[in-house]
């Protein structure tokens, strides 16, 4: 399958009086992992919220599978096939693990398909199977993140929006999570839009990347090229290629502001 399943064109969104994203255009090709990098407050989460309908854009077009979806209610967007995994592990704390997962399949009618997907989720996240009856609020942070990912899978989405899946997790768990994201992409041909601060991990696992700063896209390239770029290495990965005198020349220093 080829072609873009999601395109944004000149999308502008206000956060109250603040213009949080200032004309963003990006494409998500089918079967790929697209990452959006950026510092705190760059507007990453706002992009996802605008996409899934939790916030309405002031201007611009968002089209998903050929349909314009801006200003649609979030529950309708979800039923169209976009699964949003919000940051901060938003589980339903008093429901059991299984009930949480079944909520992901809310609105689906094919019982056999749901059952298959449940088994699929348990093969990806065996730890969840051990805790079927446990309340989600009592899971550890990493397990909650897995639960949220699994819950999103249960809706059999065409596109997953991942908002900082590594936030607040131990480095080992971060590795696990990204491993699973990669596997989902390869084995299930899942298309993903991944928003991350952990540039190293995101670039390692993504296919194409956008760099966001102050609500604008300032760079875009394949993840391999981004990884090699000096600025990305310095600003997002903290790796300095030092010059002869131990300092970068001021002329080579770059700001986008």
């Amino acid at each position: 399958m080829s072609g873009n399943i999601l395109t944004l064109r000149n999308v502008e969104t206000y956060y109250g009086p603040i213009l949080a994203i200032k004309g963003i255009s990006l494409d998500v090709p089918a079967g790929r992992i697209v990452t959006v990098l950026g510092a705190n407050g760059a507007g990453k989460t706002t992009i996802l919220k605008t996409l899934c309908g939790a916030m309405d854009p002031q201007k611009g077009k968002i089209s998903f599978l050929g349909k314009e979806i801006q200003k649609t209610d979030p529950d309708k967007v979800a039923r169209m096939g976009i699964a949003h995994v919000p940051e901060g592990r938003e589980v339903f704390p008093l429901l059991t693990v299984q009930e949480n997962l079944m909520m992901g399949a809310y609105g689906r009618k094919d019982k056999q398909g749901i059952k298959n997907d449940l088994d699929l989720v348990y093969t990806y996240f065996p730890i969840l199977k051990e805790r079927i009856k446990q309340k989600a609020g009592y899971l550890s942070g990493g397990q909650q993140q897995m639960l949220v990912l699994g819950r999103a899978l249960m809706s059999r989405p065409r596109l997953m929006l991942l908002d900082e899946p590594s936030l607040g997790l131990s480095p080992l768990f971060v590795q696990d999570i990204f491993e699973i994201i990669r596997r989902l992409n390869q084995e299930q041909q899942m298309t993903m839009l991944l928003v991350e601060q952990n540039a190293n991990m995101a670039l390692k696992h993504g296919d194409y990347g956008y760099v966001l700063e102050n609500g604008r896209i300032v760079m875009e390239d394949t993840c391999q090229n981004l990884m090699a770029s000096e600025d990305i290495r310095e600003f997002y990965m903290g790796i300095k290629d030092e010059g002869v005198r131990g300092k970068r020349r001021w002329k080579k220093r770059k700001t986008w502001r």
């Binding site: 899934c52 939790a54 209610d73 979800a78 938003e90 589980v91 339903f92 992901g104 809310y106 909650q144």
Partner: protein, 332 residues
């Protein structure tokens, strides 16, 4: 936000007698007749009082259930809950008493009408206030109560109406206990309804979605749960429960536009239960119902009217979160 105190003048009215009686209680020892079980008859009497209390408590519990359902899901305290009960009673009178439908069919029609009424109330009026401050929403529900009362007065008149049922006026004799069947029907109805609600919330997909929407609204949206419709359905259920309470209460006390003030005692029941727990609301209702009846028969007159508030006061002082609360903390 804590629990708003019910703005009601009814709570002020019984205030005077209680001072008088406290004075009287300690003034003359002959009035001091709390618990005097002398003979075998009094134990029977106690049982009888308790069962009446349970019946009354079930009514409070059902209304409290309505309060809690709406509060848990939408964080709105619906002060028109008692007036929904009043509407339910009037619907019951209309369908069963005036249109002469058979009791079962009439009850079903009443419940259906109440569910539609609750759904539309949320969809057309309450939903437009989403995002406004808590205070204006509370004022809105209070004013809905006023409107319902005067509309009911306009349609059905302000006179007292009675609802004749197949079982009203009959006394059941259980091992020498004389209990009016109305109360037995109330207790049975409450048990059936709570079981149905329990099964619905535990096992049906919609019920679990309702819990999900009340625990994490945004995540529920992201899962494709139509949260707005789910909230309207919760209003429908809440109105339906009030409708059951109203229809069951109609044969016991007469139906009038003012009967909704019982909602204030039910509010106390919900507070006692913790305002976030459905079983808590029911048990809070039972506690109030029983202690009210006990106070009515064993304490000097006047105490019956204030027991509900005294207990609420005690619970709020000793255990402000209520007797049954689900405490939840979000992991960061």
């Amino acid at each position: 936000m804590g629990h708003p105190f019910p703005f009601s003048y009814e709570i002020l009215l019984p205030g005077l007698p209680i001072f008088w009686h406290t004075f009287y209680l300690f003034g003359s020892r002959s009035e001091f007749t709390i618990f005097a079980p002398d003979n075998g008859r009094s134990r029977l009497e106690l049982l009888q009082v308790l069962i009446t209390g349970l019946g009354q408590g079930c009514l409070y519990g059902l209304i409290a259930l309505g309060f809690v359902l709406i509060y848990k899901a939408t964080e709105i305290v619906n002060f028109a809950q008692g007036d929904l009960l009043m509407m339910g009673a009037f619907f019951g009178v209309t369908f069963i008493g005036i249109m002469k439908l058979p009791f079962g069919l009439g009850l079903l029609t009443t419940l259906l009408a109440m569910a539609v009424f609750g759904y539309l109330l949320d969809k057309l009026i309450i939903r437009s206030m989403i995002g406004e401050s808590q205070f204006s929403v509370i004022i809105l529900t209070i004013s809905i109560g006023f409107i319902l009362r005067s509309v009911a007065g306009g349609i059905w008149g302000n006179d007292l109406l009675a609802l004749e049922t197949p079982y009203s006026g009959e006394m059941a004799n259980i091992y020498g206990l004389m209990i009016s069947q109305e109360y037995l029907v109330v207790i049975a109805g409450t048990i059936v309804l709570s079981l149905a609600l329990f099964l619905f919330f535990r096992h049906s997909s919609l019920g679990i979605a309702m819990q999900a929407a009340s625990q994490n609204q945004l995540a529920a949206y992201y899962m494709g749960i139509p949260v707005k419709r789910v909230f309207s359905l919760i209003w429908a259920i809440s109105a339906l429960v009030s409708g059951v309470a109203g229809t069951l209460m109609a044969p016991i006390s007469l139906v009038s536009p003012e009967m909704g003030f019982i909602g204030i005692k039910a509010f106390a029941a919900a507070v006692i239960g913790g305002f976030g727990s459905l079983p808590g609301a029911l048990i809070g209702g039972l506690i109030i119902g029983c202690s009210e009846q006990l106070a009515g028969s064993y304490l000097p007159p006047g105490f019956q009217k204030v027991t509900a508030y005294l207990i609420m006061f005690l619970v709020l002082t000793l255990r402000p979160q209520g007797l049954f609360t689900q405490i939840q903390q979000k992991k960061v």
